[in-house]
Each structure stands twice: as C-alpha cells, then as structure tokens.
Amino acid sequence: MIHIYLCEDDNRQLNCWKEIIEKHLLMSSTESMLYCATSKPEELLSMRRRSNTTGLYFLDIDLQSNKNGIELAQEIRKYDPRGYVVFVTTHSEMAVLTFRYKVEAMDFISKDETETLPKQICSCIQNAERNYKAQLDSSNRLLSIKVDKDSLVLDQNDIVAITTSNDSHKITVHTKTGIRQISGSLKEFQATLNSGFCQCNRSTIVNLKHVLKYSREDALLLMNNRETYSVSIRMLGKVQKALNNFYPSITN
C-alpha cells in the first residue's frame, strides 16, 4: 500500500490531478490511497511526519513559496528515503538529471502535454506500486551502502565484483552497467555479502554468479561484463571449491 501526496500551488491544476487520481484508484483494485493534496509544502511535510507508510509524491517545481519542489523533495527524503517522487512541471523547468540524481526522482511529467497527463499520472502510480511490491520481496538481498550522508542501495545480484581503488580509502563496485566508487574497505564489505561472493586475490572479491569462464591455466576469471580478474596462487584452491559448490552440475 502506498500513500499518494500532491503539492501544486495552482488550485485548478491541483483539483485536476486529484480527480485523475481518484478516478484511477476507483477503477483499479488497489489499497493505495490519496493521502494528501495541498498547495502548501509545509502542510505536506507535517502530514508526512505523522505517517510511516511509503509515499508517492507528485510535486510541482515552482510552488510560489519559500521552498521549491526540489527542496521539498529533499526534505521529504529525510522522512521517507525510499519514497517515490514524481515532478510535474512545465517544459522550461525540466531538469531531468537534477531530478534523478539530486532527489532520486522516479519520473517526471510535462504539464504542457495536457492530453497525456492522466495517462502519465496513472502509469506512475502503477510503476510505484509494482516497484514497492518487488522491493518487499527482495529486501533481504539488498546491500545498503553508506556514501557519506546518503546511502546507496544496490542489489547484491547486480554486483559483478568489488575491488580496491588506488586510493586506500575507497573501493570500487563493478556492476554490469558500470563502476562506482564508495568509501570503505574490502574487509568491511565482506561481512555483509552473501555466500555467492568469493575473494580471488588480495584486492578483489567477485560474484560467482557473474563468472563466465574460469581458465585454470592462466588463473583468470572472465566475468560477464568483459572484465577479467586474476586468481592469486593462495586463493586457487578456494576459488575452485567455491565455483564447484556454486555450479555443482558442471564438473571440470
């Protein structure tokens, strides 16, 4: 179940959104509800403080108040770090990357296209609900990583390998789509990882799930994101054993 919040300073538009959402909620069999529709950011925040259900927020950017939509979303993140934020804004205020990276907005809707507005709002609600359900199922294998004051949530299954950086205070997480740096040490992370991970040399932990090929002659692991990692002599036996355990059907 998700609580839906609206914040838009123009009352006519606010009512328009409200109607669209109420209609959608009636039509679909869902437990989600419209929890708050307001033109004042403060009101939304005080409502938020009283609740502890994950929220879906439709926010305007220019709120004619001391806070704009982005600042409001940041404030919301303090109380509801996993909530879903959607910005509803005019084309000229659109700042896609800022929305996504600064407040991890789920989506954004352009006000200018009035015809598709209802469809876009409804699809946002559906997406949020789907994602919320999926997260309930997978919460046990998520790896929550602290990056300074924010925390970054990664699915352990997506991690291909973790290596030390050339800077001793940072480690690098390799996923299928890229690499990101995180402050911390390999040792700290090893404790939080599940059994699918295995250390293959002094500076690398690999996820066995993503191993494509293991060449015993060169002691190299080829991963499915085209990276290769060497296996140190000390770890040869351990890696072989872990691979055999992980892929019992393949005996080489």
């Binding site: 700042a95 940072k170 994101n225």
Partner: protein
C-alpha cells in the same frame, strides 16, 4: 650512497624493489670498481644509474634532469661539508680522510643531511610547484637535460682525471669551488626559465579564457535579440487575443491559441537561450571552458541540455584540475555522441549537502570493452585520445581523497558522475 638520495627528486615515486636495485647497483659498483680504477669508476656508476632511471621512469627527460640536479646538489654539498669540517677541526684534507672515526661520523651526518634535504626539495618541486605539469615543452626539457649532463660529466671528469694526474687536495678544492659556482649559475638559469615559462602559460591561459568569454557574450547578446523579438510578437499576440475576446469568438480564440501560441512556447526552449544559464557558474575559468565547449557542441549539431538550477560557487577542488577533467569528459561525450543518431549531451551540476555533483550524460554506442578498462592506460577505442584522457582523469583524482567517480552505461546513455565532497 649519495647517488641513491637523488631518487627522492624523481617526479613519480618508485617502488621499493626499484629503489633497492638502484641502491645496490650504486653500492656494488662503487665498492668494486673504486679499488680497481680509482675515482674514474664513478663514470661507470653514473652512466649505469642514468640507464636504470631511464628504464624505470616514464617521463624520461624530466626524471633524468631531476636526477642530475640531485647529483649536482649532493656533490656540491659534499665539497661544502668537507671544507667546513676542515675549517672546524683545523685539519688538512688528507689527514681528515685517513682518520677513520671522524670520516664515519662525517659521512653519517652528511648522508642524513642529504637524505632529508633531497626529500624536502623533491616535495617542494613536485607537490608545490608541480613542475611536471608546467614543464611540458619537450625541447626545453631536452636542453636542460643536456646542460646538466655536460656539467656532471665535466665534474666527474675533473676529479677523476685530477686524481690520476696527482693533484693535491688543494687544487681539487679549488675545482670544487669553481663547480659550485657553475652549479649555482645553472640553478639560477633554471629558475629564470621556470618563471618565464610560468608567465607565458598564464598569459596563454588568460587569452584563451578571454576569447571564450567573448564568444559567450556574443551568444548572450544573440539570445537577448531573440527575446526582444519575442517581446514584440507577444504584444501582437495579446492584441489579437483581445480582438477575439471582444467579438466573443471562442472557437477562433481556441484555434489561434493552438496554432500560434503553443508552438512559440516550445520554440523558446529549443533556441540557444540555453547558455544564459551559465550565469549560475561563479568561477570565470570554469564558465569560459563550459561556454566554449557548449557552443562548439551546438555548432556540431548536438542537442544540449544544461541543468544549472543553483549558483555554483565552491568547487571543492582546484579549479584548473576540475577544468582539465571536465574538458576531457566533455570532449569524450561529444566524440561519442557524434557517432550516434540522436546526438544528445546532458550536463548537470548541483549541490547535495554541500557536496558538488557533476553529471555528464551522452548518447553512445554500446561499449565493446569493460567499462573499468576505460581508465587504464592501454585502452583506446577510437583513436588514441579517449582512453588516455580518462587515464589522466584518474591520475588527477588520485590526489583528491574527497572525489568519487562513477561511470555507467545504460542503453543508450553513457554517464560520468563526479562527486566532490565538501572538506569540513
């Protein structure tokens, strides 16, 4: 022993193993050959060391020059110390050299002094002055290297041949003073060359910045012209609308709105008023770099999205380093975007809890290599420049503990994300 300390002066740190090799080589050659050939053996040691350093380091001329400088420095101080010791103990050189206990204490003090000072000078050269960054003129480096090499050569030749001819220590001492003077002159010359190069660099940099800002202003004036034109149109539109209203022609008004007014609002966001947003960047050098890159990209037909919603003041990093990194990122983004159909580049900067986030996203073809390999030296997908550029970024960021650098590719966007933490 002396020769080893010069290692401190090299631009890049050597591994322990390499240091050990250099040290043992110097020690062994001096120990063995000195008994056979006398002082002439220094030639063998010296040439061998130069070769070793040549193979161990990457920036040959700079490393060798640094090494030679260190050698000259230590030898000069050797003479100075000997002279001072002679003065203090009122002893002749020859007596002094046969007095074992004194010689050993003297050597120890001397070695400690050289070890400490070379380390300090090395730190000053490479961390404070950052000579590796500015002395990039190849010919100048070569000239410095040759001058230093000849000086050292004559130095060694002088005292080894002098020994063979049977000079007494007085003459050698005199030679020492002459070479000390020569050495001081060289240092002075090098210093002058250094300041001149620095000034030239600063001048060039300022001129480039000036040119960029000129182009930027031109663009702004252009977009101001567009605004003025719109203001004019806008009045016309209002007059027409009031006409429709007077006649109570609702259908006409609707049609007019859909056909004339909506398109204008779209056209506005597409026009090149985008650059005006750069006024949020307070650092002039950065602004000039970004404006020049963005103008160029727009001219190449790339669709730019620039998001700068808040004033950017604190960079949390040296402005020149950041400019270099952004230059590399944007060049790569442009190159990659040009290969795709849509040709899009997004640029975004914002603060999140005082930490500066920079995000560059561009359309790119799916990579045929592992993304982590991009940062290593060897890879270069298209031409030479791309991989090397990112390798340089990695080298710069090594000096910043507060920097986090993420790279991802998610169809069809390639994203570089740089987070510069605020230092409390």
């Amino acid at each position: 022993m002396i020769t080893f300390f010069c290692v401190h002066l090299l631009p890049n740190k050597l591994s322990v193993l390499k240091r050990f090799i250099i040290f043992s080589y110097a020690f062994i050659t001096i120990y063995f050959f000195n008994q056979i050939y006398g002082q002439a053996s220094t030639f063998i040691t010296f040439l061998g060391l130069i070769l070793l350093i040549y193979f161990f380091t990457s920036n040959h001329y700079l490393s060798l020059s640094c090494y030679l400088f260190g050698y000259l420095y230590t030898i000069s101080f050797n003479y100075l110390f000997m002279w001072a010791a002679g003065l203090i103990f009122k002893m002749d050189m020859e007596v002094f050299l046969t007095h074992h206990l004194l010689l050993i204490t003297f050597s120890c003090i001397y070695c400690m002094f050289c070890g400490a000072t070379t380390k300090l000078i090395g730190y000053y050269f490479h961390k404070k002055l950052n000579i590796a960054k500015y002395l990039t003129n190849y010919h100048l480096l070569k000239a410095i290297f040759i001058a230093l090499f000849l000086l050292v050569f004559f130095y060694i030749f002088n005292f080894s041949y002098g020994e063979r001819l049977g000079y007494n220590y007085g003459v050698i001492g005199l030679n020492g003073i002459i070479f000390l003077l020569l050495f001081i002159i060289t240092v002075f010359l090098m210093y002058t060359v250094y300041t001149v190069t620095m000034r030239e660099q600063a001048y060039k940099h300022r001129m480039a910045q000036f040119e960029n800002l000129r182009v930027y202003t031109e663009r702004l004036e252009n977009s101001y012209g567009i605004m003025r034109k719109f203001k004019h149109d806008y009045m016309n539109i209002l007059v027409t609308m009031s006409g429709f209203m007077k006649e109570n022609d609702m259908d006409g008004l609707k049609e007019y709105y859909g056909e004339r007014i909506l398109p204008i609002s779209h056209a506005f966001t597409e026009s090149d008023t985008k650059l005006g947003i750069l006024s949020n960047i307070k650092n002039t050098a950065l602004k000039s770099l970004l404006s020049s890159k963005f103008v160029y990209m727009m001219e190449m037909g790339i669709r730019m999205e620039i998001e700068l919603l808040e004033p950017i003041g604190d960079l949390n990093m040296d402005c020149l380093d950041l400019s270099r990194i952004l230059g590399i990122f944007l060049d790569n983004a442009m190159e990659a975007a040009m290969e795709t159909e849509v040709k899009e580049v997004h640029f975004c900067m914002f603060y999140k809890e005082k930490n500066l986030h920079l995000i560059m996203q561009n359309t790119a073809l799916p990579p045929t290599y592992a993304i982590s390999e991009l940062r290593s030296h060897e890879i270069s997908t298209k031409g030479e420049n791309r991989g090397i550029g990112l390798f340089n970024v990695d080298m710069i960021l090594k000096n910043y503990e507060n920097a986090i650098w993420n790279t991802t590719y998610e169809e069809p966007y390639f994203t570089q994300e740089l987070i510069l933490m605020h230092n409390d």
